[in-house]
């Protein structure tokens, strides 16, 4: 009887460890998900490169692709957000610049955070930004209007069949907690989200 009990306790302990490990696995799904999204381009997560990495000789002079801009504002954020031009034609490999106009419609100073996404998914793998207003939190004073800039490169390895892509931004309200947190996380998440 006692031997049986000891064995049972051993089995129970092992199974308890499995349960704890599976709890950990739940958390492990977060980085797995992010890596998977980055590798496959699901979610349209875009990349970031520094200006020095952009090579002039990569520019394909005979090819033009259309980049469309889509702007959204989360209902919690009292801002308006528009692209200055709704689309532009760019040469793959060349640094291009787009300007967005953001206005704080409220009477308070508000912090916002823009989250980008590129469609089609395949195109997002070749879409890199050198500079973007989405890299950091943006603060707008009451009624303030600001022009925000993104500089980006569409990789020259972009598959021939893609002639049009859409860069979409959604501006969210960065809450007090999230605002401090995003600054801390910025260095980390820039790698993933751009």
């Amino acid at each position: 009887m006692n031997l049986m009990k000891n064995n049972a306790t051993k089995t129970a302990k092992k199974l308890g460890l499995v349960a704890v490990a599976m709890f950990g696995f739940g958390y492990l799904m977060v980085p797995i998900y992010n890596v998977l999204c980055e590798v496959t381009g699901i979610n349209g997560k875009t990349g970031q490169i520094s200006q020095s990495e952009v090579k002039i000789e990569d520019v394909d002079p005979d090819r033009l692709v259309t980049v469309e801009f889509d702007t959204n504002v989360n209902p919690n954020l009292p801002w308006t957000f528009k692209a200055k031009k709704f689309k532009q034609r760019v040469r793959p490999g060349e640094i291009a610049e787009a300007i967005f106009i953001v206005k704080n419609e409220s009477t308070n100073s508000v912090v916002g955070q823009a989250i980008p996404s590129v469609a089609p998914e395949l195109a997002s793998l070749f879409f890199n930004k050198t500079e973007c207003f989405c890299f950091v939190n943006q603060t707008l004073a009451p009624g303030e209007t600001k022009e925000m800039v993104v500089r980006y490169v569409v990789g020259s390895e972009l598959p021939e069949k893609i002639t049009t892509m859409t860069l979409s931004y959604t501006f969210f309200k960065a809450s007090e907690d999230v605002a401090t947190k995003t600054i801390i996380d910025q260095k980390k998440s820039i790698k993933n989200n751009g």
Binding site: A8, V18, Y33, N43, T170, F172, T180, T182, D185
Partner: protein, 530 residues
């Protein structure tokens, strides 16, 4: 050690009063408590579904406001899944697993007591949210962010209730595995285990692997809301779709956690009333294990419409289809068991055959939705509501009720009222089909789920569905009456109870004494179940 000796001397000593139940370490008492708790929760969840059906009886808003309607839908699901189905399955396991393998009790009796008594606390947490600022959870039982994060003060209560329920079921699962692995009677080899025991070992492994993932997911929700993390918050670099992946990684195995014990029960019932050994015992064991294994690779079929890449949709579609193979093996084995058997149709057998027929209906509509392109039409309509209710009500609940009728004479020592049992079966079967079958039609016609109002074109079917619902709900009171009547008295049951019954549990007196198999029985091929 000395305690154990004293305990053995006072063989039939039962603690008296409330202490017998509060501090019980006896698998039979704990099993009874689980079953009674499940029955109460079945009626609590059932009452909520009556509110839903009353509201949907006619188009327009009649009785409850939409927010409360959404709470009803959400809490109905949580109560039924975690309060009725899972505890009922664990209750049957507590009662029957030690008796079936010739063990004196569960391996870890103290833990057994705790895993039961956590449940009332967990449901107090969950149900108390009805009285809080912001009301009860109303964003669906799947708790998708960001909607679930808009819940008021009830939110942490929801999260902690899920934690407690998870801990309870994980402890229960660990106990069952520890019991079966260490406490089998001599000669009770793994391939001689009754299929109900096999079904529960596999279910227990699923529980241990899946429940902690849910616990992780809801913990992330909690920290997202209160501690500034951004796992699912797009503004902070998170992704709400990721919650769906985490949730369904738990959620799909959960489906099999619910259904496998019911499969186990009918694998006991069908051979008994066909008076033949179960056809294809070994293939049954492997089929059950394959279903459990595959269940971890199909989760994204719940989220075909979130915008997955084509490769992902194809993978999850084919993986989903593949589960039909081992499930088919089981269905055909049950049919082959009945083939040329000398069958009789007592109430447990009727319920088991009901499972076979109606679970298959749910299985087929599941296959339809497993096809990615058509799922875009069915997603979030009443078609899915029809599907999972066919699987859960006549598939799982009928299996559990069949098990209750099957073992009730063993538990109480009295035969139940067969006439009332049959009446219960027939009214339930007719009404459950009136209740759920038309949902296929209105679903295909485009009626969305989780909405308190609907377009007038669905009005006729909804009235019929509601009538079916009310009759089904009321007919479950017959079960309560049968159980009470049987506990109070009736024709004395023999040890074997059923003519075709084989297995260790049927060698014991009915009702079994408080402590059984203190000297382990010897099991040989002749006395083994299959």
């Amino acid at each position: 050690m000395s305690e154990a000796v004293i305990h053995d001397d006072h063989h039939d000593h039962k603690p008296s009063g409330i202490g017998r139940w509060l501090f019980s370490t006896n698998h039979k008492d704990i099993g009874t408590m689980y079953l009674v708790f499940a029955l109460i929760m079945f009626f609590v969840g059932g009452a909520m579904s009556m509110v839903i059906r009353a509201e949907l009886f006619q188009p327009g808003i009649q009785y409850v406001d939409p927010q409360f309607y959404n709470s009803m839908v959400t809490v109905h699901a949580l109560v039924m899944i975690f309060g009725a189905l899972m505890p009922a399955g664990v209750g049957l396991a507590n009662w029957m697993v030690p008796l079936m393998i010739g063990a004196p009790d569960m391996a870890l009796p103290r833990m057994n007591n705790m895993s039961f008594w956590i449940l009332p606390f967990a449901f107090t947490l969950l149900l108390s949210t009805f009285f809080m600022q912001g009301g009860a959870p109303a964003g669906g039982w799947t708790m998708y962010p960001p909607l679930v994060l808009q819940l008021g003060d009830g939110f942490p209560y929801l999260v902690f209730a899920v934690h407690f329920l998870g801990i309870s079921s994980i402890m229960g699962a660990i106990n069952i595995i520890a019991t079966v692995f260490n406490m089998r009677a001599p000669g009770m080899t793994f391939m001689r285990l009754p299929l109900f025991v096999w079904a529960w070992i596999i279910t227990a492994f699923l529980l241990i692997a899946a429940m902690p993932v849910l616990a992780g997911g809801v913990t992330m929700l909690l920290t997202d809301k209160y501690f500034g993390t951004a796992f699912f918050d797009a503004a902070g670099g998170g992704d709400p779709v990721m919650f769906q992946h985490i949730f369904w990684f738990f959620g799909h195995p959960e489906v099999y956690i619910l259904v496998l014990p019911s499969f186990g029960v009918i694998s006991q019932i069908i051979p008994t009333f066909s008076r033949k050994p179960l056809f294809g015992y070994t293939s049954m064991v492997y089929a059950t294990a394959s279903i459990a294994f595959l269940s971890f690779f199909v989760w994204a079929h719940h989220m075909f419409t979130v915008g997955m890449p084509l490769t992902g949709e194809l993978f999850f579609m084919y993986a989903t289809m593949s589960i039909a193979v081992p499930t088919g093996v089981k269905i055909f084995n049950w049919m082959a068991t009945m083939w040329r058997g000398s069958m009789t149709f007592e109430t447990p057998m009727l319920f088991a055959i009901g499972v076979l027929f109606m679970f298959s209906i749910g299985g087929f509509s599941g296959l339809m939705m497993g096809i990615t392109p058509v799922d875009f039409q069915y997603h979030d309509t009443y078609f899915i509501v029809a599907h999972f209710h066919y699987v859960i009500v006549p598939g799982i609940i009928f299996g559990i009720i069949g098990g209750i009728y099957f073992w009730l004479p063993k538990w109480t020592g009295n035969m139940y009222d067969e006439k009332l049992g049959k009446l219960h079966f027939w009214i339930s079967t007719i009404s459950v089909n009136v209740l759920f079958f038309p949902m296929h039609f209105i679903g295909l016609a485009g009626m969305p789920r989780r909405i308190p109002d609907y377009s007038v074109q669905f009005a006729d079917w909804n009235s019929i569905i509601s009538i079916g619902g009310f009759v089904f709900g009321a007919s479950q009171l017959i079960l309560v009456w049968v159980v009470i009547k049987c506990v109070r008295g009736g024709e004395k049951a023999t040890d074997q109870v059923w003519e075709g019954a084989h297995g260790l549990e049927w060698t014991l007196p009915s009702p079994p004494p408080f402590h059984t198999f203190t000297t382990p029985p010897k099991v040989t091929d002749a006395t083994a179940h299959s």
